[in-house]
């Protein structure tokens, strides 16, 4: 009996021994999953992790390796990713992603493991075109990212300049070579050409500087773009982002190229302002509206109703004086804030007036009173990347320039110049309003107001009294006071447009 017992014991122990050790090896290997990106091993601070068959990757390592940017806000548990022209916001333990503002449901949530932020593989797949493969035997995740490719080649001809734009699916490095007899500018881009159709392989330009642009897959890694010049000209190559592109500018070697650009700008501004010298366009923006009542007075008077009434009164008086007037809203509706200056741009306005009533948060006493006129604060011109992109879009929308850099320069210059006009106009408005209403003069001020951004005309926001002040609320209720305000604004507009600067 004892012998039998011992044998059983031995066998059990042997089985235990045989099975347990390999099992340990598997566990040990699982802690060391390898990550391969485009066939090279990516050394990460923390290894990828497999949870219930789902792969989680160390966020910073993979996003940066793919050429993206990552920002982590620990206090908010918020992760912002920027990759392939897409912006993504993720929150730890929430299976959702905001991709360019759109919500996408995820199967797994981003999570924190070993003090590192890990993102599910699906997030990377949403951001960029990748192929992923999980090799269980070698415990290896291989990710193949699709290479950047040339999406199109465009050309724009100006009097003394030709611009060639090479559009890319994503940022890539490039090399520039010049060749003589005939003169050529060669740009070798590290990308593939598979997205470019046959027709675009040769772009016939045939202007004063460039005859044509040819492109082809030069090596497996590079696309060669050859610009055939008509003579020995100067050129400049630069890369721009959102969308990623390489820009080749060819121009006549002369010192006056700068002044050529300068005159184009001033001409553009001049025509915007003076037009035919008679037809003046005013866009009036009654503040708030619809779901946004604006400030509400102690007796319940609503800003949106007061300012709409003043705007309608002002329109009538201005029209009687022969001016062209548009309102951003004629009814109690909500117009998105950023659309209001766009309307002024579309209407090619000379003057943009946003009418508001003021309020100040002061518990118990609302002694704040008076009139103030606001102009955009010049330090917020081109303050953000979004601004630049917006202006670029706006500029091309309104001026039909195809030229991107020039657009930006023009938009910036015009916005800066418009602050000068706006300050002139604001002084007139402030003076007239204080004279006509007898309210306290709080002065002309500058602030980063969204409604005044990205315009090229005299643009102001006027606060025609404090609705939060019981005395001024009483005034704002009366048609007489509103009429006074409208008349003052009318006088100010007439005074301004009659003295519009002929030149800058």
């Amino acid at each position: 009996m004892i012998k039998k017992y011992n044998y059983v014991n031995l066998i059990i122990l042997l089985i235990f021994l045989l099975f347990y050790i390999p099992d340990q090896n598997i566990l040990a290997q699982q802690n060391d999953i390898q990550l391969k990106l485009n066939d090279t091993i990516l050394n990460t601070n923390v290894s990828p992790i497999l949870v219930n068959g789902r792969i989680f990757l160390p966020a910073r390592d993979i996003i940066e390796a793919l050429g993206g940017r990552i920002t982590w806000f620990p206090a908010l548990k918020l992760l912002n990713l920027n990759l392939g022209g897409k912006e993504v916001s993720l929150v730890i333990d929430i299976p959702e992603a905001q991709i360019n503002g759109k919500k996408v449901i995820l199967e797994d949530s981003p999570t924190i493991m070993e003090n590192r932020v890990m993102i599910p593989l699906e997030v990377v797949q949403l951001l960029t075109e990748i192929e992923s493969e999980w090799d269980k035997a070698s415990q290896e995740i291989s990710i193949t990212s699709h290479r950047p490719y040339v999406t199109s080649i465009r050309s724009y001809s100006h009097k003394d300049k030709t611009r060639i734009v090479i559009d890319l699916s994503e940022k890539s490095s490039y090399q520039v070579i010049t060749l003589s007899n005939p003169e050529r500018v060669v740009v070798d881009v590290e990308a593939s050409l598979n997205q470019l159709n046959e027709k675009q392989k040769e772009v016939i330009v045939n202007d004063s500087l460039v005859s044509r642009v040819r492109s082809g897959q030069f090596t497996q890694e590079t696309v060669r773009v050859v610009t055939d010049l008509k003579g020995k000209y100067e050129f400049q190559v630069s890369d721009l982002s959102s969308p990623d592109r390489i820009v080749v500018d060819i121009f006549i070697p002369q010192s006056q190229v700068g002044t050529v650009v300068q005159t184009e700008i001033s001409q553009e501004i001049k025509t915007e302002i003076t037009k035919d010298g008679k037809r003046h366009i005013v866009v009036i923006d009654p503040g708030h509206g619809g779901n946004h009542p604006g400030a509400i007075g102690p007796s319940g008077l609503r800003e949106k109703d007061v300012v709409l009434d003043i705007a309608l009164k002002l329109r009538k008086i201005l029209q009687d004086n022969g001016l062209t007037v548009y309102l951003t809203r004629e009814k109690d509706v909500d117009i998105p804030l950023e659309n209001r200056p766009l309307i002024a741009m579309q209407r090619e306005a000379n003057v943009f007036i946003s009418i508001h009533t003021n309020s100040a948060m002061q518990k118990g006493s609302s002694t704040a009173k008076g009139i103030e006129t606001y102009v955009l604060n010049s330090r917020y011109i081109g303050a953000s990347a979004k601004d630049v992109a917006d202006r670029e879009n706006k500029a091309s929308q309104f001026y039909h320039y195809e030229d991107d850099i020039l657009n930006q320069i023009i938009a910036d210059l015009e916005e800066s110049a418009s602050i000068g006009f706006s300050l002139d106009f604001a002084e007139i408005v402030q003076k007239r309003l204080v004279q006509n209403t007898g309210l306290e003069n709080r002065g002309v001020k500058q602030a980063p107001f969204l409604v005044l951004k990205g315009v090229n005309m005299a643009a102001i926001l006027v606060e025609v009294g404090f609705i939060s002040n019981p005395n001024e609320e009483k005034l704002l209720k009366t048609p007489e006071f509103r009429e006074k305000v409208a008349k003052a604004l009318n006088q100010a507009v007439l005074e301004y447009v009659r003295n519009i600067p002929e030149n800058i």
Partner: protein, 199 residues
């Protein structure tokens, strides 16, 4: 019979010896594989813990630090600094905003942020303070350009008075919206503006 038993006994003892050896090998193996690392792990953890203890400063209940808070003057024309001593914490900037929301102690100054607003979080990165506030800052706001400017710039000036903060990005419940109440562009980080201070 006796001989056979003896033979059996020898066999049995040999078997026992083999089993014993195998058992010893297994035990040795298991000890090396599991028990040893466990001890090492514990030691490591203990070392780390003791290190942490050294690093953590003793809680200084009495230590205070002065912060500058900005509140509105009686005509809502300017922002006026009010100095306040508050208990020193790891998150002085966040604490300063909590104090700002509480309002001024001086009777001729006025609050600039709705008192029900909570601070969800504050994070400083690359000179920019990201301050996440609860939506009461919008819901309970009185509106008006002046009111909104006072709210925004009292927060911006209070935070930029810290040496490591140059700009302030206001976030409401996790979103950096366009404006709070329809005027000031808060979609971008804002700098301090001296024109709010009376000269």
């Amino acid at each position: 019979m006796a001989r056979r038993r003896k033979k059996k006994n020898i066999f049995k003892s040999t078997m026992n010896l083999i089993i014993l050896i195998i058992l010893l090998v297994i035990i040795f193996f298991l000890v090396q594989k599991f028990i040893f690392p466990l001890f090492q792990e514990r030691e490591r953890i203990e070392i780390e813990e003791s290190r942490e203890e050294i690093e953590v400063e003793p809680p200084s209940v009495l230590e205070e630090e002065q912060v500058v808070l900005y509140f509105a003057d009686d005509n809502a024309q300017y922002l006026v600094p009010e100095y306040r001593n508050i208990q020193k914490t790891e998150e002085m900037a966040k604490q300063a905003i909590i104090e700002l929301i509480k309002g001024p102690t001086s009777s001729n100054l006025y609050p600039t942020v709705p008192s029900t607003t909570r601070v969800n979080g504050l994070y400083i990165n690359d000179g920019i303070a990201y301050v996440d506030l609860s939506s009461e800052i919008i819901k309970n706001h009185s509106g008006g350009s002046t009111g909104e400017l006072l709210t925004v710039y009292s927060i911006v000036l209070t935070l930029t008075s810290f040496p490591d903060i140059n700009k302030v990005q206001i976030i409401v419940d996790g979103n950096s919206g366009e404006t709070l109440v329809g005027h000031v562009d808060t979609s971008i980080p804002l700098e301090g503006d001296d024109s709010w201070l009376k000269r």
